[in-house]
């Protein structure tokens, strides 16, 4: 009478990056940073030998929200800002699935901000890639929570008066166990970071600068101000990693921080062991209420 959920087992596959492409053509503007992230992603999952049926890509709303449809995997294009609870539900129902959450800065740090620290503190074993273009692209160019102060757009004709937030520090505050930053124009590095993020056991947060050519072209700016993290940086040094993340002049790229902590699904396994007392049946449950 009690339903048991089947669990799947998967075998690694040999597929070329392009074999992970779906038939749906990306609708992004030519030159969009998201193209770079997408090709790095195909490459990463190819190198990780992930079977397409094991992979679930969840997204919210925004240009980057269209990401799942371009992959020959399972996908879930959810509502605006809710990608992390969505990915959490999928992962917790079937921890053997490989779950990747994707989205933009508006989705992550504005409408969906309330979910970010919780996914991090729970250490849900998923990878979260935020393609940060520092603007709302799909709605045609309003300032986002990562836009610089003074940005003049139709919704801020006299210059934005709001200070941008720091996504990396938010990830630290929430307790993410893997925190990194990339730049879409550095595809090799982004591929490596995506691979590491997916291999990390726990909540991996990857911020990727992914410029919007149409509404806020920052390619040149990032080429200037980004540089790799110091070669001697030790990712287990939390204080140092946070200090580096606070630097607004030089934007460091690479793995800031990594720690090992039981994942959310591992914690639940522990709870299940603790809770299980002999054979379970509906009759027994009902009989607790019998007079």
């Amino acid at each position: 009478m009690l339903i048991d959920t089947p669990t799947y087992t998967f075998q690694p596959v040999e597929l070329k990056p392009q074999e992970y492409k779906s038939d749906v053509k990306p609708i992004w503007c030519p030159g969009c940073g998201d193209f770079g992230v997408l090709s790095s992603f195909y490459k990463a999952i190819s190198e990780l030998h992930i079977p397409p049926e094991q992979l679930v890509i969840a997204s919210g709303i925004g240009c980057s929200g269209r990401f799942p449809a371009f992959c020959n995997s399972y996908g879930f294009h959810g509502t605006h800002g809710r990608v992390l609870p969505l990915a959490t539900g999928i992962k917790m129902a079937h921890p053997e699935l490989e779950v990747v959450a994707v989205g933009g800065d508006g989705d992550a740090f504005s409408i969906g901000m309330g979910h970010f620290p919780h996914a991090a503190r729970r250490n849900v074993n998923i990878t979260y890639i935020v393609m940060d273009n520092e603007i709302y692209g799909l709605t045609k160019g309003q300032p986002s929570p990562t836009s610089p102060m003074g940005m003049e757009r139709k919704a801020s004709p006299y210059g934005s008066v709001e200070r941008p937030l720091n996504p990396l520090l938010l990830a630290f505050a929430g307790g993410a166990t893997w925190i990194a930053r990339g730049f879409s124009s550095k595809p090799k590095e982004v591929t490596q970071l995506i691979k590491q993020a997916m291999q990390h056991k726990g909540f991996s947060f990857l911020q990727v600068y992914s410029p919007c050519v149409t509404f806020y072209d920052t390619y040149d700016h990032y080429k200037e101000v980004t540089k790799p993290l110091p070669a001697d940086h030790n990712p287990s040094d939390r204080a140092k990693a946070m200090e580096l993340a606070m630097n607004n002049e030089t934007l460091f790229l690479g793995l800031y921080y990594q720690e090992e902590r039981p994942t959310y699904d591992e914690a639940f396994s522990g709870v299940r062991q603790k809770a299980t007392k002999g054979e379970y049946s509906l009759e027994k449950l009902m009989n607790k209420y019998r007079r």
Partner: protein, 600 residues
């Protein structure tokens, strides 16, 4: 006074603590002594302080309502005396704390009073917080309920702290003996116990417990929720049970996350639910529409409470019917199921899960505050009735993974799997993550059969029709699974059509009307959307008058039926945050009856 049907109300200030516990323990003692019980309560939303009322009705025969008038009022404070003394019926009595409060100057005729010096008694055993349990002891003696049952119940309910338990048992004994010593057997304060007590098999539980067990029986293995009165104890119940059956219960960061997590889990094939109350349901509306659009099964329990806004979180209402059915942007159909009683919560939530799975749709389960916290004696669940309707899954054919699709409407690739295939009954076979070849994107945008986004007029129209078509089929299950209650006289000129927990007082009012020669027929559909139009239409067709009782201000169901059938209904609306009294329904039947006789 002899009676086979007793109604007791306990009132006091929650700052003193234990009012509900007193009532609940008493109700359980009565239930475990062989009586049928039906309880109701209103508690303040505050943790400490504020007026609390608990009412228990105990009877030899099955009871369907909390009872209108009181046989006994136990008043722990002056407010409770002043508020309720005029509800005591002749022959009944008032028990109050004579150390703290004064009886009213004049009691209703035939009503007796008795002052228990509770503070003094408590002092005599050096246990000032023991007044509640002393009172229970006194009540047990007054009702001549078996003392051993009382002791057993106190141990069960208050046995966690050993030291305190000893004190509580002493308090129980002291209250019992006080009455034994001071109130003679012959005194009018003694109620002769209902004898020949039913010894039917019974479960003693609340609606939230019943529906939680139902959810487990239905195969639900994922729950995400956010604390909200009066739905939180569903979450707490499943938090204890799910880990034992490989289920997952997550206390989410808010209601939006809760429904989204449940949707994500269901997408992978696990039966999933969330539970909330009105304010939480408001937050879930966007994702509810998404579940309709992505065609993913999902169960949302709404334990209705009095609103709008924060309203009265601990009081009952049936005001969420409209948001349950119509709360959406654009036409976003979902199924709405309403159980009618504590017992029914178990069976209907199984139906609700089965409808969700079968039609790949969100289902809203409309319970209410009164039903959710009320402890009742109910027959044991018939577990042989538990059936699981499977989700229609995609079956890859012998060619391996490229199967099933007819190749049309997709974006390319012959024979690709079409998740949103337009079918005759609207249900499309669903693949689950992990199934090779079944990859697709669950899509909130309008889409082709493959799931790829498209904004073509004809595709949009075809999908609207598909989504509506598949839900219409659930009306066949309504019939097959008998998702309604129908009783009374077939040829009655006066009928009552209602939904939800109001059926209890309706049942008793109809019995009373029938005993006076009136003919009344009653129909309570438990599937409220899609509306079982045919059945309701046939039922009301030849009635001179149809009454629709509802615990909301505007008569939400009545207006819906009015729009559907283009006829007038008699609305009986109560919007005070408390359930109907049997008397109120009865009076409406009587007035209606007289009205139609005058016309003739």
């Amino acid at each position: 006074m002899a009676s086979t049907d007793l109604t007791v109300r306990v009132g006091g200030d929650s700052a003193a603590g234990g009012i509900v516990t007193t009532g609940e323990i008493f109700a359980r003692i009565a239930a475990f002594s062989g009586l049928e019980i039906y309880t109701t309560r209103t508690i303040p939303a505050e943790i400490k302080g504020g007026h609390v009322m608990f009412q228990a009705r105990a009877s030899v025969d099955p009871v369907y309502s909390q009872g209108d008038d009181l046989d006994m009022l136990i008043a722990f404070d002056q407010e409770s005396i002043d508020k309720y003394y005029d509800l005591i019926k002749p022959g009944g009595f008032l028990i109050y704390n004579s150390n703290d409060s004064k009886p009213p100057a004049a009691l209703p005729e035939g009503v007796k009073q008795y002052g228990l010096p509770l503070n003094e008694i408590a002092k005599s055993i050096n246990f000032s917080r023991g007044r509640n349990i002393i009172t229970i002891g006194a009540m047990v003696k007054l009702f001549d309920l078996p003392y051993d049952k009382a002791e057993e119940m106190v141990r069960k309910q208050l046995g966690k702290k050993k030291e305190l338990l000893e004190q509580n048992l002493l308090a129980l004994r002291t209250g019992y003996e006080y009455v034994e010593k001071n109130i003679s057997k012959e005194s009018p304060y003694h109620l002769i116990p209902p004898t020949g007590g039913v010894q039917e098999e019974r479960l003693v539980m609340s609606g939230n417990q019943s529906l939680s067990i139902g959810a487990i029986a239905a195969g639900c293995r994922f729950y995400a929720g956010y604390p909200i009165t009066p739905a939180s104890d569903i979450m707490e119940f499943l938090a204890a049970e799910f880990p034992q059956i490989h289920g997952t219960m997550i206390q989410a960061e808010d209601e939006i996350a809760a429904i989204t997590m449940a949707l994500g889990a269901s997408y992978t094939g696990v039966r999933s639910m969330t539970a909330t109350s009105g304010p939480g349901l408001s937050l879930m509306i966007e994702m509810l529409g998404h579940a309709t659009m992505t065609e993913i099964p999902l169960l949302i329990v709404d334990v209705q409470r009095a609103g709008p806004s924060t309203g009265m979180p601990t009081k009952v209402s049936q005001g969420d019917l409209r948001i349950a059915i119509f709360g959406a942007h654009d036409d976003s159909p979902r199924i709405v199921v309403a159980p009618v009683s504590v017992e029914d919560c178990f069976y209907q939530i199984i139906h609700a899960f089965n409808l969700a799975e079968k039609y790949q749709t969100p289902v809203i389960f409309l319970s209410d505050q009164d039903m959710s916290v009320r402890v009742s004696t109910i027959p044991p669940f018939d577990l042989s009735k538990v059936k699981h309707e499977p989700r229609l899954l995609w079956q890859p054919n012998a060619n391996g993974h490229k199967a099933d699709g007819n190749g049309s409407g997709g974006t390319g690739g012959d024979n690709e799997y079409l998740r949103y295939r337009i079918t005759e009954n609207g249900i499309s076979p669903m693949s689950l993550p992990g199934m090779p070849g079944g990859q697709y994107t669950a899509e909130g945008l309008e889409k082709m059969e493959s799931g790829a986004p498209i904004f073509e007029p004809d595709v949009h129209a075809a999908n609207f029709e598909k989504r509506a078509r598949k839900l219409a089929s659930s009306l066949q299950d309504y019939k097959a699974w008998q998702m309604f209650e129908q009783f009374g006289d077939d040829d009655a000129p006066v009928a009552i059509v209602g939904w939800g927990s109001t059926i209890g007082p309706v049942r008793e009012a109809v019995m009373r009307a029938q005993s006076e020669g009136m003919k009344v027929a009653v129909l309570y559909p438990k599937l409220l959307y899609p509306l079982p139009r045919e059945h309701i239409g046939e039922f009301i067709r030849d009635r001179a008058a149809v009454i629709i009782p509802e615990l909301n201000f505007t008569g939400q169901f009545a207006r819906m039926l009015q729009a559907e059938f283009g006829r007038e209904f008699i609305r009986l609306n109560k919007y005070e945050g408390v359930p109907f009294a049997t008397r109120e329904i009865y009076n409406k039947i009587k007035v209606t009856y007289e009205g139609i006789n005058e016309k003739v």
